[in-house]
């Protein structure tokens, strides 16, 4: 490939820049939810996540306390206090008393509001309002101010989401669905793949063709009949129709064509000599499969397991049809979809939940990328 490279420095520089741009577009979206999930929830709405390391500033409105809290001091009527109450760590940069000019006066200066009334708001939020006449009315003076807060990162969102929003429970549900649905098909597919690769029997070519055909059959074709079947079976035995057993079997069924296809093409490529010498030594097909084929097929079994794991973990459609939405059954993807409806604007909850749902696939992906790519290359007929 090196020969295709342009020779000039400029064209090589251009390639680096172009790839950098692609990498940026492909990573920044994910980075956005990771950063946001760690931010304070008030700051998420106050500034874009790309500004999260800068102080977030916002303009707010408030009211000073009513006239009843005034004190008389040196012949003047004074209202004193702190607009943040206690504990808040925000800095006021400017304030004002009109909505049209919310930052008319810099913090720390004394504003003349007319009739001898003065108002001073300091950077820390403390204020003094003084007047020669007594204040009246039970509604305090309207106050606008621009304040900024230092960047604040927290794991609070994770606490909230995992333990009060039900994501923790859904995480367990997803694991409950995924692990059996990944393990069960492997052995079933491996035996079938061996038979289709190395045993001669009538109808074999047809079976292979059927399996390749089934690879691309849309899941949608299966949903309604299976839903009816599950309802009937449930009604007949007087058990619920939405069960973990049901979804394990469904994922097994939907994963089998790809499993058999992938495993068969790998097993068919194993060296013929090994099989034949084992056969001459008197080994049966069963022994050849267990002692030779299975150990040699480890890489492809791992590839399939990763695929199936990611596919089942990330699935929404099958889970929505064959599992309930009660807390004891709802999986992460379905839960995240429900949160999008009920918590549409709460980005601290959505970004955190989304990050929790993608963290497991990302770990699997990064640690086992080699097998994943191998499976992808071998089985790129399947549509996901």
């Amino acid at each position: 490939m090196a020969v295709a490279t342009g020779n000039s420095f400029a064209s090589r520089f251009g390639v680096h820049i172009a790839v950098l741009v692609f990498v940026a577009i492909w990573t920044i979206p994910t980075l956005g939810i990771l950063v946001s999930s760690l931010r304070d929830k008030d700051q998420i709405v106050a500034s874009g996540w790309w500004n999260s390391f800068a102080s977030s500033s916002q303009t707010e409105a408030g009211r000073l306390p009513p006239a009843s809290t005034q004190k008389e001091k040196d012949g003047k009527f004074v209202l004193e206090g702190n607009i943040f109450g206690d504990g808040a760590k925000r800095n006021i940069s400017a304030f004002g008393v009109k909505a049209a000019a919310p930052t008319q006066y810099p913090a720390g200066t004394s504003a003349d509001l007319g009739d001898g009334v003065t108002l001073q708001v300091n950077a820390d939020g403390s204020f003094v309002m003084a007047s020669p006449k007594a204040f009246e009315g039970d509604r305090g003076q309207r106050l606008y101010y621009a304040s900024s807060a230092p960047p604040k990162f927290t794991t609070e969102n994770y606490d909230t989401v995992l333990f009060s929003e039900g994501i923790g429970r859904s995480f367990m549900n997803s694991l409950t669905v995924t692990i059996p649905a990944t393990v069960i098909p492997i052995l079933i597919a491996a035996f079938a793949a061996y038979a289709l690769a190395w045993m001669r029997f009538p109808g074999r070519a047809l079976l292979i063709a059927v399996i390749i055909g089934l690879l691309v059959v849309p899941l949608q074709m299966s949903l309604i009949p299976l839903l009816k079947l599950y309802n009937n079976v449930g009604a007949f035995f007087g058990v619920p129709s939405k069960t973990y057993l049901g979804i394990w079997l469904a994922h097994t069924g939907f994963g089998l064509p790809f499993a058999i296809y992938l495993l068969r093409s790998y097993i068919a490529g194993l060296p013929r000599e090994i099989m034949e010498s084992a056969r001459i030594d008197g080994a049966s097909d069963f022994e050849i499969f267990v002692k030779i084929v299975l150990p040699l097929s480890f890489p492809v079994l791992a590839s399939f397991a990763i695929f199936q794991f990611l596919w089942v973990w990330n699935d929404l459609l099958v889970a929505m049809v064959f599992l309930g939405t009660a807390p004891d059954q709802i999986v992460l993807t379905a839960k995240l979809n429900a949160l999008l409806g009920s918590r549409g604007g709460n980005w601290e909850i959505l970004t955190t939940s989304a990050f929790i749902t993608i963290i497991v696939p990302l770990i699997v992906f990064f640690s086992l990328q080699r097998y994943f790519v191998r499976g992808l290359l071998a089985g790129s007929v399947k549509g996901g």
Partner: protein
Amino acid sequence: MAAQIFSAIFVIIIGVGGCVAYFWGANKLLDLTFPSRGVSGTAAINNLRRQGLVRPWLFVGPALIILTIYLIYPVIATLWLSFLDRGGTSFVGLANYEWALRDPDLRRSILNNLFWLAVVPAACTFLGLIIAVLTDKIWWGTIAKSLIFLPLAISFVGASVIWKFIYEYRGEGQVQIGLLNAIIQHFGGQPQVWISLPFWNNFFLMIILIWIQTGFAMVILSSALRGIPEETLEAAVIDGANPFQIFWKIMVPQIWGTIAVVWTTITILVLKVFDIVLTMTNGQWNSQVLANLMFDWMFRGGGDFGRGATIAIIIMIAVIPIMVWNIRQANKETGGH
């Protein structure tokens, strides 16, 4: 919850143990029924032949049963259901298909699916190819590829949340927390509610799938590009071809078969696209697609299985040409084996 974990572990043990027991037991039983050892020569040969007839079916049996229940039977049943009424009880002939021809939602969905088909496979393949070629030339190409590949591991729902955050809209003049609107506002443009913009919102949903699938196209095409013989490229350089000519006239034709595979794979995925539309718009603002419409009909007002099945058949019809092509391709490759 403890009970749930326990039952999951229990199922794994039962499932795997059951499989092992079945294969081992069935095999043993066959050996005992038709013994090949300790019997006379001809009997042994006959029994071996009988074993050879039965054993393949023992091996493929479980897979065949599951495939029949979960895929083969449903395909036939769906076809049958598309001629039945909403409850799936009485025959209504072609009424569902007549409805399909007239229903504006369905027409909109087909139209949108066609948009998706026109844009997403082409965009993924093209971007994947470009990135594969570019990353091959630089020392940090592997890292770049892994990062671009990463969204493939993310669920469609997760990706939808990620992009919904990018498309987030705040009123004009407010602080934009969505990246896209922030950029637009920074350059003096008008912030927009991207996912409800008529027509264009489809493209904003497609971007999500393109973002996910480009990595797939890139990996497959990158490996195909490596298969191009070095001499071919060297010869082209010696003949004075420039990089663009090499790309279009040498590389692309050489990997044409792989491009077709990538294209069809993504096409099938696009036909089934569901999660993204459900989570982003649920088909509102003219963004409905077939798979989401079908899901809607399955459960809307107690569900209309006849119409749902009809929509599934429409998706299936679109897939059939690819299916036939795949089978032909596979027959050619495997040949006698």
